[in-house]
Each structure stands twice: as C-alpha cells, then as structure tokens.
Amino acid sequence: MGVYILKRFLSMIITLWVITTVTFFLMHAVPGSPFDRDGTKMSEAVLHNLNALYHLDEPIHIQYFSYLTSLVQFDLGPSIFYSPQTVNTMIERAFPVSAQLGFVAIFISIICGIGLGVVAALRHNKAIDYFAMFFAVLGLAVPNFVMATVLIKYVAVEWQLLPPATWGTWKHIILPALALSFGPTAIIARLTRSNMLEVLTQDYIETARAKGLSPFVIVVKHALRNALLPVITLIGALVANVLTGSFVIEKIFAIPGMGKYFVDSINNRDYTVIMGTTVFYSMLLIFMMFVVDVLYGIVDPRIKLHKKEG
C-alpha cells in the first residue's frame, strides 16, 4: 500500500507537470497580452515597464523555468489584473466558497441520485420508475443555468422562500446547490438504476433470497454495494466537474467563488491567474481520481491496490 501511494504520488507530480507545461505554452501562444485594454492605449514606455515588472519581456523559456521554480515553492505569483493581490490569496479566499457550494451540490446529487436509481430499479417498469427516469432525462437535457433561473424566479422571487443571490448564510447555498446538483443527480440516478437492474438478476441475489433474507437486507447489503462500483468512478469525475463547472452558477447567483476568477482571468489574459487556477483544479482532479481508486479497493475486495505495481 505504501509503495502504491508513493508511485501514485510520483505519477501525480508528472501529470501535474505536463498540464502546467501545456497550459503555459498554449496560454502564451494565444494572441494578446494582459495589458491589451480595449479603448485605452498605453504608451510604449508604460507597456515596457509593465512587461519588465512581470518579467514578460524575458525569453519564454526563462519565464517558464522561473514559473516552475516558484510553483515548486507553492508560490503562484501575483495577479496581473487584480494587483496587488497574489493568486495564492485569491484562491485562499475564493476556493472555500466554491468548495462549500460544490460539496453541498455533490452531496445532494449522491443522496438523491442513488436513492432515485435504487427505487427506480426496484420498481422496474412501474410508475415511479418512469417518473424517476423522466426526471433524469430532464436533468440531463436542461442546462443548469436554465434550472438556476427557474429556481430564482419561483422559489426566490415569487414565493420568497430563499434569497435569490449572493453569499452568506446557509440559505444562500440551497438554490445554487440545487441548480448545480440537477445534472449530476440525473447522471447518477441513471447509472445506479441500470447497474442495480443488472445486479438484481445476478445469481448471488437468488442465493441471498434462498437464505430467507428480507428484501431490504438483500438490496442494501448484497445488491447496492456491487451496483455502486461504477457509480463511484462517476462520482470521482463529477466532483471535479461540479467544482470546476460551477462558474456559470456562481456568475448567476453572484457567488464570490473560484469560477469568476477562472473565467475573468482568461478574458483578461491574466497569465498568473490562468496558470494558478488551472494548476489548482488539476491538482484537485488528480487527487479525486486517487481517492476513487482507494475507495474502489475498499468497496471491491477483488481490486488489490498493491498488486497494480507489477
């Protein structure tokens, strides 16, 4: 296990380095610079000084190596657009907000998705199955920003149950989290349902019935565990997806999370913020994949992590 984690850690570092390198050179290949402001024309001298300040006048490979050097020290550099803030402080401030929203959304998706999927599978081809799958198709087809506006219009504006936007109390989390969880709930529900249907036809379910176990024990103990294996893989990817994909929702609800910086930084050619957010999200994604692999080993004893070494 120790060796496995070490190997995984090394491969994580390499993946991260590849992502950093590709992003860095792609970003510099895109035309424009952080100091292109529409309308306002800067004088040659000012532009020259600014470029010098952020070392943008140096050859690209020198810039690349100095970025890597500071990255190794966990220094993501100063923001060019939001100076004098550093990228580190921006992430420190914004990430907890995004994370909170993301995890509430994922939590809702997992509970509702698995619940719906299991119920639909147990009542296969009955009304509740059709309802759940209708809901799931809806969740897949309707983009989350449409859901968000519908929720704001009815729940917040017409019925005045919850605040329509901004961030602060737990009440502010509910609507954006719901809007954000809609799609993932649908995906998880569909996958859970199809896996449950398959698992329920397995011979070991009949063995469990032949032991006289109650339907509840059979579903929870014998079926669900096996049905959830593929769902875990999906959830790992979804967590990263929800955390990174939340910028539209954050924009609609005016939530001061990471998404705003992520989008703005690209519009502004804010090189350090682009790099910082990309590296940060990559780390998150890679870490989630690692968590999924470890969970796999726990749920399915046939998968032995240390055996993967060979």
Binding site: L213, D300, P301
Partner: protein, 338 residues
C-alpha cells in the same frame, strides 16, 4: 406419518411476451427423512423450476405456481405469506446452486455470507455465529477455517467455492437441501469429491437431499430415488436400482442408452434420442414424448398417459405400461421382423 416433503400436482407457468410457458405441468413426488432424490432430465424439462418452486423462488413478476400443493412435514407451503416463507428459506429448506462462482457475492467475505443466514434465523450472538461458521467450514473440508472466513470468493478454487455453498446451505441445519446441478460446473475429480461430501454430510446430519442433475453418473453414486422429468412432468420415478436396471419409460431408456458405459463396447456409438422436446407454449394433448418415441401408439398422441405402478414405488406414466396396452414380446417382435 407425513413424509418430510410432498409435492402434488405442482404446475408452474411463466408469462412471457410470446405467451404462457407451462414449465412444470403437474409434478408429484415425496421425500422422506434422510433420503436423496435425484431429479433428472434434459435441459428445459422443468427440473430447476421444480426445485425453485419448493423454495417458492420463482421470479414473481413473470412466473407463478398456478396449482398444486407443496407440503413440508404436512404443512402447506403455498398458503404461507412471503414473510412466513422467508422463515422457511435457509432455515428448513436450503438451496445449493450450480455455479458457486456467480452464486456467491464477490464483495462480501465468505465468513459473513455463511454467518448471515444463521444470524437471520437463530437467535445467536455474532461470536457464536462465527464459531458455527468455522465448524461448518471444517465440516465441508476447508482447512484453516479461521483465516478463510475473512477471505473473499476470488481467493478460492472452484471446488472450494462449491464447498462454501454447501457450508452456507448447512449452517442452519435444514431438513431439506435442494441442490441444483451442484457438480455441473466442476471438473470430474472435484465432482467426485463433492458427491462424497454430500454423502458424508447426509450420514452425519441426516439431511434429506434433492439433487437436480442431468448426469446419470452422479445419480448412480448418490441417489436413493430418481424422478425422471420430461417436458414439465415426471415420466418415471422409483428407486435407483429399478430405474437403472428396469427402466420402463422409453425416455428413461433413451437417457440410459445415451450415457457412455465403461464396460460397454466402444466401437458402438452412443445412441442419442432423436428430435427435440416439445414447445411448452403449447404442450401436446397426449404424451409429450410421443413425437420422439419409437414405440408411440395412436393413444399416445391424443391422451395423457396415466400413471402405472410397476411395483410398489416404481411408477411410470406411459401408455405402453398401461394394463390395457397390448403385450409386446420383444424377442418375438424381433424374430418376426415387426
């Protein structure tokens, strides 16, 4: 005294998109304490469905036991509610499935799978259950049981897995074990070991066994009685010796003729039974075997054969054996060339 298990005129039907399949069309048999009954027949003859009907494990949404009676020690099982039936399953009647590889849960430890049955049915503590699980593994011949309990399915060989299935079935000390092709998925040497294990266990615990198989070799080694099934009916039943040495039904004779013999002349090819079993969506009006039967009479195609008692326990459902049928003397028939 009531027999331990008695099936009378059991019918099982399945609703499919193509219509209603009459999988089992009136099966009778009795099983006494300590006896081994073998149900034999070719694929699709309804033997597995019969076995599952004893446990009432017919898939609810498509199949149902449409008529008949299944009595365990005189108590009618078909009248029980599903909840009452769950008290019987695993506790009084246990089941062993064909392929232990798929019939055991791959993600739950073997120990837990053995223990959960007894924890469900008997009021005992987890540590007591563990002790019994260890005892069971020892009984079925798995060494190092304490360590083995914590292991998972993929860490066992094929024969071991079938032993574990047997341990799971035995743990609540049921009166009847229904084994559905318990040796089919195993290779020959392991088959012999498992058959021996069944015999040992029966000798030690006095459990009654219903073994479902199409392997007559297995039957000869283990069974006391045989019920030969064809197209959802028992066509011939009786003690093993009678069925093997004095088969009366042409189907039973065909089955025996298609089995290779060690002492036989190897230059003579095995005799298969020509044709295929009837369509159970619309079973024939007469004897289901008539279309494949070389001795079929007019009456065979039109009327269901009645049961004829050959002697005490040996019963056959064939018009040829009916007292009203014309006597045929095989030697004479051969001599005259008819």
């Amino acid at each position: 005294m009531d027999p331990l298990l008695q099936l009378q005129n059991v019918h099982v039907t399945f609703q499919t998109t193509g219509g209603t399949v009459q999988a089992v069309r009136g099966v009778d048999f009795t099983l006494n304490k300590g006896e081994t009954l073998a149900i034999v027949g070719e694929s699709g003859c309804g033997k597995s469905v019969t076995a599952r009907s004893i446990m009432r494990l017919i898939p609810e949404h498509s199949g149902k036991i449409s008529q008949g009676s299944i009595k365990l020690e005189g108590k009618e099982l078909l009248n029980l509610t599903e909840k009452q039936m769950r008290e019987i399953r695993g506790s009084r009647i246990a089941m062993i499935f064909q392929d232990a590889m798929t019939a055991l849960n791959p993600t739950i430890s073997i120990g837990e799978q053995i223990k959960e049955g007894i924890i469900r049915h008997r009021k005992i503590s987890r540590s007591e259950a563990k002790k019994q699980a260890i005892e069971m593994l020892t009984l079925v011949g798995i060494s190092n049981p304490e360590r083995r309990l914590k292991q998972y399915l993929h860490e066992f060989s094929g024969g071991m897995r079938q032993r574990i299935m047997i341990a799971i079935a035995l743990v609540c000390q049921p009166s009847v074990i229904v084994a559905d092709e318990p040796t089919t998925a195993l290779d020959v040497t392991i088959q012999a070991q498992i058959i021996q294990l069944f015999k040992d266990i029966q000798w030690k615990t006095g459990v009654s066994i219903i073994i479902i198989t199409h392997d007559l070799g297995v039957v000869a080694k283990i069974a006391d009685k045989i019920a030969v099934m064809y197209a959802g009916k028992v066509v011939e039943s009786g003690p093993v010796r009678d069925i093997f040495y004095r088969p009366q039904h042409p189907y039973t004779k065909g089955l025996l003729a298609s089995m290779p013999r060690l002492d036989g002349d190897r230059s003579i090819p095995l005799t298969p039974i020509p044709g295929t079993p009837p369509d159970l969506f619309a079973p024939p009006a007469g004897c289901a075997f008539a279309a494949r039967c070389p001795y079929a009479l007019e009456v065979c195609r039109e009327h269901q054969p009645e049961e004829t008692v050959v002697d005490s326990q040996h019963i056959v459902a064939c018009w040829l054996q009916d007292p009203r049928a014309k006597q045929v003397y095989p030697d004479l028939a051969e001599a005259t060339g008819t």
